[in-house]
């Protein structure tokens, strides 16, 4: 029987003099429905997520900020599958922001997400990602941009597979803060 748990991570390090700081990291020992980075301090300028991930189904990796749900997100992607290049709006919009589409549940993908100016309380929040998944004869690479239609500072990020797909064992999710 699948043991589905929700991992919740609070910041794990004390203050540092470094400009690029690790805030929290987890490597999943079992399949997990969601991973939550909570209580994100507003002391950085940008955030970066570095995610090594596998899902129980071929679908999108998605995220929501501060518990914000339906109708608040936009994502656009440029996608290449080894033969053709296309651009599309992932089905994650408008209920979540997308971090890339995994073409098969049998392999790991990797995504690097930059969440820019996440702590300001004046503008909506923008993200960009680079994602890839190669399976020696199949796979894809994807650029994306995301928008959260909210001026609040981001203090929580919940990451999950779209449609209830679970994050698989050995997936690794790391959040970093970049000082300006």
């Amino acid at each position: 029987m699948l043991n589905i748990v929700s991992s919740i991570l609070a910041p794990q390090v004390a203050a540092s003099t470094s400009s690029y700081e690790s805030i929290a990291t987890t490597t999943l020992s079992t399949a997990t429905a969601t991973v939550t980075f909570s209580s994100i301090p507003a002391t950085y300028t940008h955030l970066q997520l570095r995610i090594f991930w596998k899902l129980s189904a071929a679908t999108n990796l998605i995220a929501n900020y501060n518990g914000s749900g339906a109708g608040n997100y936009k994502t656009h992607a440029l996608y290449a599958d080894g033969a053709t290049v296309s651009s599309f709006v992932p089905s994650t919009s408008p209920n979540s922001v997308g971090f890339g589409y995994l073409g098969a549940s049998t392999s790991f993908a990797t995504t690097i997400v930059d969440i820019l100016d996440y702590a300001n309380t004046t503008t909506n929040k923008t993200t960009r990602y680079l994602m890839g998944d190669d399976r020696n004869g199949s796979g894809d690479i994807e650029f994306g941009s995301g928008l959260w239609l909210n001026t609040a500072a981001i203090n929580q990020i919940v990451i999950a597979g779209q449609g209830g797909a679970t994050l698989q064992q050995y997936s690794s999710l790391a959040l970093y803060g970049i000082k300006g």
């Binding site: 540092s16 470094s18 400009s19 570095r50 680079l130 796979g139 690794s172």
Partner: protein, 170 residues
């Protein structure tokens, strides 16, 4: 108590003479990800840089690329390759500086195959000019302890800088 550095230079070199390849060896397993940066020129215009892990030159590599040449966007795939590449369609220039960056994710784990994300930017050459992104796969569960960078066709030129960084986790 203050935390240590998270984005740490492991090693860097600036080639004092042309070389067929350069190897970062004895890479510690104490980081989460590695970042490899190459900046410089090559002997053969448009030449790609090969990247091999742990001296593996067998057909254990594959890649998918997205490339923009300035006139067209394209995608290509390489399967069962003998190396990964910094530039699978694009390459490094012989007379203008080209830069490339490769993120090597979860390099030290001994459970999964290794995945990379890379970008190359060649705006000043004659052949293999453009912007390109690649995902790469090394089908090995071994931890990466060495990285060898070489020219696919010719030498790396004098003055090329190769830098390896480690990114630590909390």
């Amino acid at each position: 108590m203050a935390a240590g550095s998270t984005y740490t230079p492991i090693a860097t070199t600036t080639l004092g003479s042309a070389a067929a390849s350069y190897t970062f060896s004895s890479i510690a397993g104490s980081y989460t990800d590695l970042v490899l940066i190459a900046v410089g020129t090559v002997a053969v215009d448009g030449d790609s840089l090969t990247v091999r892990f742990n001296s593996d030159s067998a057909t254990n590599y594959s890649t998918t690329s997205l490339r923009g040449s300035g006139t067209a966007a394209s995608s290509a795939r390489g399967s069962s390759l003998t190396s990964l590449f910094l530039g699978y369609g694009d390459g490094f220039a012989s007379s203008a500086i080209t830069n490339a960056i490769m993120n090597i994710q979860n390099y030290a784990n001994t459970t999964t195959n290794k995945t990379t994300l890379s970008r190359i930017n060649n705006a000043g050459g004659t052949t293999g000019v453009g912007a390109e992104a690649n995902v790469g796969l090394w089908r090995s569960t071994a931890a990466i302890t060495s990285i060898t960078i070489g020219g696919q066709t010719g030498n790396l030129s004098t003055g090329m800088t190769l830098t390896l960084y480690g990114i630590a986790a909390a």
